[in-house]
């Protein structure tokens, strides 16, 4: 079967072919109110304009007025799975190389396409609750070794359940937002008491986030086989971390201020349907998990997503790749995480974010944070311009990017980038 193509030109390395069609919220730089768009090649397709022009009038689930003339995706997500599917099909049809409706309408094309370079991408969704998991075995083992020693590295529960915790939703920001180095309590080695100081161990964490589009009522768990139906989309997450603040505060109730100063997300929500061609069997789990976490072997799957972290210091001209990893390194699947999250009755809601935790593989270049890459500061990263890094310095820019490689096309996530500002 020939690859489906759009009349919009899309390079093979582009993250945004017609096979992707991720959702975002944007505002034209020349002015105008925020609205919802879809990325295609170097363009953003303005769904509010298309809707007003009647392009979706045949879509039965899209009768609501101005559903795309909104500053977030929440209202659209609340319409439910049937609406998401129908809209995706309608957009795919409109952009098809063989479909004249939009292709041959010069005025509508002029009104509905914006160059991505001419729009500002906004936080696409109002996040409700934010849960962060800890699903990479290599990451959990490395961090455990560094924080608690080899003996206590992997806790006894880790192989039995997808460990997770509640994160801070209010400080989630969109890619491009500068991140200020936090101050906080730090306990220096051999000091009797903590000091108050800007963090000296600022780090990133390479993660993938899943946005819940349809929730479950309180008290009614989501069975594992239905779990993925609740997902609206997928994006990249940088869970900025202040390791020195975290190390002093985190026992016994978990990370708090070491994480809550900022979490950055990429602006494009990739529909889970776009990841279907990249579904592969999930890693074998030993011991076998309890039944509520078990799918039969043909159904327990993960996604082949190539992921990178790039660091650019204030004096370097190019970003330098410091991590090259893959989503398949994760031990627990998103279906298992959703089933576990709700098994006690906890309700997920439309707009909730479930993040993977740092994605690290077994080998050193695949580690998804500086804590592991530099082994808590003892093995500096050599930058091409001669600089060294063990933690992030003021002025450093950290960028995460990722894509699924198809045959002649990529389904990409764009990027999430942020620059470190000095502490106040």
């Amino acid at each position: 079967m020939a690859l489906k193509k759009s009349f919009v030109p899309v390079e093979p390395e582009s993250h945004f072919p017609i096979q992707n069609l991720p959702y975002g919220v944007f505002r034209p730089r020349r002015g105008g109110r925020p609205r919802i768009g879809v990325a295609i090649g170097r363009y953003v397709l303005d769904l509010a304009v298309l809707d007003e022009a009647g392009c979706f009038s045949h879509v039965p689930t899209l009768t609501e007025k101005e559903i795309f003339a909104q500053p977030t995706l929440n209202a659209f997500m609340a319409l439910g799975r049937a609406a998401w599917r129908e809209l995706r099909a309608a957009i795919s049809q409109l952009l098809d190389a063989e479909e004249p409706t939009l292709r041959d309408n010069v005025l509508l094309r002029a009104a509905s396409f914006h160059l991505q370079s001419e729009v500002e991408l906004l936080l696409p969704v109002q996040i409700g609750d934010y849960t962060d998991f800890y699903a990479s075995k290599a990451h959990a083992t490395n961090v455990g070794t560094l924080f608690r020693g080899k003996e206590n590295a992997l806790m006894p529960n880790w192989l039995h359940l997808p460990v997770g915790y509640h994160g801070r939703a209010s400080s989630i920001v969109v890619s491009g937002t500068d991140v200020r180095r936090p101050k906080g309590q730090i306990k220096l080695p051999d000091a009797a008491d903590p000091i108050f100081s800007p963090s000296r161990q600022l780090d990133f964490e390479l993660e993938v986030g899943w946005l819940i589009g349809a929730g479950n009522p309180l008290g009614e768990p989501i069975p594992i086989d239905a779990a993925e139906d609740h997902i609206f989309g997928v994006f990249l997450v940088n869970d900025w971390s202040a390791r020195d603040i975290q190390a002093w505060e985190y026992q016994p109730l978990g990370p708090f201020l070491g994480k809550s100063f900022a979490t950055s997300i990429s602006p494009w929500l990739v529909p889970i349907e776009a990841l279907e061609p990249f579904r592969i069997p999930a890693p074998k789990q030993t011991p076998e998990p309890l039944p509520y976490l078990s799918q039969n072997d043909t159904r327990s799957t993960t996604f082949d997503i190539q992921l990178e972290a790039l660091l650019q210091t204030s004096t370097s001209e190019q970003p330098h790749r410091i991590t090259s990893t893959n989503y398949t390194h994760l031990y627990w699947t998103i279906a298992q995480q959703i089933a576990h999250h709700t098994v006690g009755g906890c309700n997920l809601q439309s707009g909730d974010l479930l993040a993977s935790g740092t994605i690290s593989g077994e080998d050193k270049p695949s580690r998804g944070c500086l804590l592991e890459l530099t082994w808590r500061g003892t093995e500096p990263i050599q930058m091409p311009n001669g600089e060294e890094r063990v933690w992030l310095a003021d002025g450093d820019r950290l960028t995460l990017t990722g894509y699924c490689q198809g045959d002649g096309y990529r389904v990409g996530f764009g990027e999430v980038t942020g620059r470190v500002l000095p502490a106040f």
Copy 2:
């Protein structure tokens, strides 16, 4: 000075004299849409009706239409501190025994007063982020001893910072909501592997919650001396806990499913102004906290709030008091908690909840949860009808209540109650 009185009759033991005036959201049982009200004696005063009748037309900050004809307090809270103050003064004036406007208007009185027994009280606010602290030294010491042994009871950080963690906001429910016993992973003593089971160690936690009315921008900490200005109101919180699920899951990232199945709050938000007469010096702290957590001695204050937990089994006719404690048992103040929460730049938002953590004193009857009261199940509670309890049984009703005792009046919190339903 004579005690200010309302023309509405209020018994001395009532929680709702004119000195209190807590906000809630209610719906008349005979029908009608949710709207905002204030408790006075045995009545709810309907602010939507008063507003429509023009009773607040002289209040400069209350120009917005239908601000009280809302299903939550969020829109009103977003108006800011000046509006809260002016409305409170206006309501206090309207209810004053000497003020004829409402007192002598028979029709308006009939339209604006509802018996509390004739309304349904709803969740008063859409909670944004929910943070739970751990501010009672006795509680932290007891739990630490039970979970980790005497040696590691109080972590080294505990005396230096108000330990807290992110809780689950979606599963916060209003008083009166039944709570279903969660299922989850439990590791029985001496078992090699966990099992999946309904929790066998269901517990309550007696807490006080502070609702943020005005937030801070990301990256801009709230100084401790300004912290209380951000508070809209105070209520009771029951942080239901499944101790067996919690014990197995909580390391290293903190409580998750052991708490996220439900958290109950009382329906009335007591304005912090109503607590002013009950302000007393905060406990002396040793070691002295870092400067960002320090106020001078005349300003570091807490509140004298008497608190109780009552247990009624399905076969007992009366609730039985199992805890009698006080907010003053807490080591860390709410001002310190707010200053700490934001010191790294984390933004609080209008609608965020900050809870105290379990409130326990030094002596046994003042312990705020069964884990401590029964010393993890080894010292059963004797109920008056001969029953025993170490954990909550299906059908048990747990109620928290509390008040500040003034001279001839009480500023009360009403109650937060919930009944345990069997696991599905």
